[in-house]
Symmetry: D3
Subunit: 245 residues, 6 copies
């Protein structure tokens, strides 16, 4: 492992891109956040709707779900519009299932009452890490949606449990690096997405060796990087939401 | 006809909303324009791709087409994602056919060579007039895409023919008004979308009496308003593109 | 503008094709009309069903809607069957939305009670003007369906408001002409569909410059032709329905 | 078995409905036949297109296929439009497969050359027996399409092999009857569709006991009726086509 | 007709393949039977669910239906997965309609109560005759599902009416043969599927002349073979189910 | 962490279920393996087809992909057939993407030549761990398909790189356990699927905290269990394939 490898982005292995979280980005959603991880820009809109899916009715709890999409020209070459093709692709479904699962870890569904919060994550511009940005920004939009419910006295308690954030890590030419942009991601041997709880523990780990395989030691080195970046992400989220440390 | 009717927006009957055209809004598209008609915000990305649809092959000409979409929470209440429902609705198809037809009037397809320019119009925030904003902003993105082709010497001549813009007009409590926002549109008796060429002539007129009907005199009064607003739209387009009057 | 242009059909500019309205064309529908605009033949069947769409329930009103289809070999070359392709095309959806909107102008939905009338317009043979024929014939079928409701004492009042008819006009070699057949439509510079109320006012105007653009003067000249033809269409409708002038 | 049972139609057990075959019913198709079995009316349009399906390419033979549809209000109550539902139902697919198979028995595909003839059978009005009428009328349209190919010297030999016709038979209150209309079909114990070649032999037999079961003797009695009716159908086809006996 | 023709399988014309019925093949279904007709293997799972389809509600009766599928590599060359293509093909729909209709002949739906039994027939390995094996094995699974309902006292009476089985017959080089495997089926002139009731009568007969046609005498010869094989199938079913003769 | 927790299956935390790999389970596929992890049974059929997907053409390499399906009654309650619903669900797509990615790690695609191997994994009976069983059994089927290519001299070199296997691990009442069956999986706090290469390194790790979260120490304890079980899986694979250690 050669730590002096040069990342295409010129960043140090442990250095994430510049993170920005802009609340109230659009007018209609109960929570609306533009999240930027460098050149990756995702609009996360959290919508509150009364009622829950059929299989949850009458259980006295709420639901949090997510949908993910990419504008056709968010990428280098134009991708077909999924609405035109008539279905969401496997990658899209896989990502939105991950986002939904991750965001549910932020909420006590029992205290949410019979409301559904849908977090739409639409990628305006893509440069790697759209799913980790979606989770990180989506969590802030979700908190705003919960605050909307509280402010309008639609629920009594506080269903908010903990902040959730996510970052990618990978092995680039054998070196563990954090927050891969598109050129780095394309060239990486291993790519891993880590979803973390504020307390420092793990909610989801998805690591894939695109080429070859990776060792337990490499896995742990990558998780180390993710944990450090996570601390910064939580700081950004708290600052955006005005939550004291 | 009572000209002293008060529009919900407080605007004078002949006063369009504030128009903004921001070029280079995203990084990847050959033309990328954020168009704002007041609170209506549409991202228009023009993509250049080699080749033409099957039915045009070998005819030595190019093609311009458009696709239209609305982010699920661009509106007051969340609309279902068309990719999830598995098809584009009738309204979407109708609008994107209109945008495509209108933008083709801006281009000499023979001079475009065997390239296809697809203009994606995705509504970030909706407050009435999304199709007219799409045409107006899409035309600027289209011009940028043509300039890209010229700058990169992919085509020889200049396929740009004329600017195209669009505005809505309507009868609000019997009074002709221009550029209706959502509350005005919902309450209007008649709604008309007008697509204009820079020379002052008409490319498309679509007027619908939502309630009752309208007379030829009312039609002409509405077209008068559209023509005046059109002059302002062309001015905005020229200014954004740095085209002298 | 040269009024001595020769139309492919040999008709004078202001002369519509022969119009025929045959009631009770099939046996099962509450209203069944074969409408012929020259060689264009459309079967318009109006079906009465109890109940209204979900979003209208409990509002004490009815609904009128339309569906449009073309038999695969109604045209010169065989078009794919939409049921086989698995979806209705954009053109089909656009047309059936127009027919539905137009026919609703003929009816007082409040007086219709909680019934839905669906008008199916299926093109048996196409030669231009299928949507205008559909509206004109569909209105007669609609009236028959309303009479069925009255005759069977399913409703009390009379929801019929006014006759609605439609004709196409266009600019053929610069000359305004009425009721374009397929060869004329293919060669026209501008094509406009006009939907009119019996009182002489306008319900819908959809004009498109296929090539170039059109002026306000040309628009008014075309509307003049439409108005005159409309008078004949209403006369045909009244005669078919036995309504005194 | 009581031969004195009274059929709802008042016909004798062995008496088919009045059969009518009208050629050149529409203008564009190479073969266009309206077939009527009493109140059942099906428009059969045969379209000639160059080329064959992918799996037949280069084999020097042609293809004959069929598509079947029912106008939404061909029946007592309105059936949903298959194009709107987004797929053809199982019954539709089953019927159009039967029609295609049956019509291929009329043709020597080797002599057809690399042409595809598609026979569209669209039910304008249904009163039982739409598939048998489709086969009987479709065969006449198919012959006209073959004659078109010959007349225009697009093929050399004569691919026409034999006439094919079809009729339904059934057990109505235990009595074998022929050509069941809708009320008879609904009340029948057994329903059978028989496709026959001119020579008197069988091409397809599909018998279903809707209630109970049927014996070999009953099967033979029904086939006897079909054979007799078949002779009349072939006579109608020959007369329509001007083929001497 | 030359009775000394040699079948590819080496079997005598009247000799069906080895039949095996294995009950309780999987663990979860209320009835689970692996049926083997030689190398054709179909897993038939009967599932009991409370409730009936919408159009049967409140009529105090049950429903029996079937679904059919083929594993992609059940055949010589891989067939596309229908779930991936997004729809069931016409052949699949035709077969599952036949299976459902046939199995309903085994049951008194009135005595079933408001339960639906769905029999899934999934072809693990195909070698001709998958639909006849599905009916024969599906009937055994169906009986097990009915016994489940009785054993758990979910219904009172006995809805089982009669055993139903099915076999294919055909004309192979002019000779009637029974239970065709894939090579025989591909080479046969005529192919017929026969569904029989235990009493010896017919429930469904579907005969198709793939090439040429067949005579009434040939039809009867084939039915003779089917009847004899049917006796053996019923014996297998009774033995599997422990039903005395 | 209390190691004396009692698993519903009665197994020790580190004890996988009984594993069985049956080769040549069906007749047609180039590789056909029934894999059993206890009561979970998956049929893995590897099909060899000439050619590669469009985006790989002309690159002189092959492709390995997977499709996954579940028979409707593989589970406790009947799940809808995806072919009937008209699309594969998100879970299905996610799983088949994982299987495909994992199996590609077993193959040197450059040496495969322009062939595509599709591994169909169809779940006959489900009791947890269907995706890990699919990968483990699918790898054996894949090796058989490669051997088929070699035996028939369709390729020259040996594209087989390494065995790949997979097992699930989880936290059950706080205790790391291996190879969870359905009742254990439903009750687990964390569920992780691990895909391993024969050399002991990791190909894919997907861990999800269904409730709460998990620590780095717990992650490592689970991976330890997976590694030990992996050694047994590779032993099973080698034994089935006759590969010496």
């Amino acid at each position: 492992m050669a730590n002096d490898v040069r990342r295409p982005s010129g960043r140090a292995p442990e250095q994430p891109r510049e993170i920005r979280l802009t609340r109230d980005y659009t007018r209609h959603a109960e929570g609306s956040v533009l999240v930027e991880f460098g050149d990756t820009k995702v609009l996360c809109n959290a919508s509150v709707e009364p009622g829950v899916p059929r299989w949850l009715r009458g259980k006295g709890q709420g639901w949090v779900t997510a949908e993910y999409g990419m504008l056709p020209r968010a990428t280098h070459t134009r991708g077909g519009r999924e609405a035109t093709r008539g279905k969401q692709g496997g990658r899209t479904l896989e990502i939105q299932r991950l986002i939904g699962r991750s965001l549910r870890a932020a909420v006590n569904l029992k205290k949410l009452g019979e409301f559904t919060i849908t977090v739409d994550c639409d990628v305006i511009q893509a440069d790697g890490g759209t799913r980790t940005a979606s989770i990180t920004g989506g969590c802030v939009a979700l908190v705003d949606a919960i605050r909307y419910l509280q402010r309008n006295k639609l629920i009594k308690g506080d269903p908010f449990k903990q902040l959730v954030s996510s970052i990618s890590v990978g092995l680039f030419k054998g070196v563990p690096v954090v927050d891969l942009d598109y050129p780095e991601d394309s060239a990486a041997d291993t790519d891993m997405n880590v979803v973390m709880a504020e307390a420092g523990s793990l909610i989801e780990v998805q690591g894939t060796a695109e080429k070859g395989s990776f060792s337990r030691a490499e896995l742990n080195a990558m998780l180390e990087l993710a944990e450090n970046a996570g601390a910064q992400l939580f700081e950004h989220q708290r600052e955006a939401l005005g939550i004291p440390r």
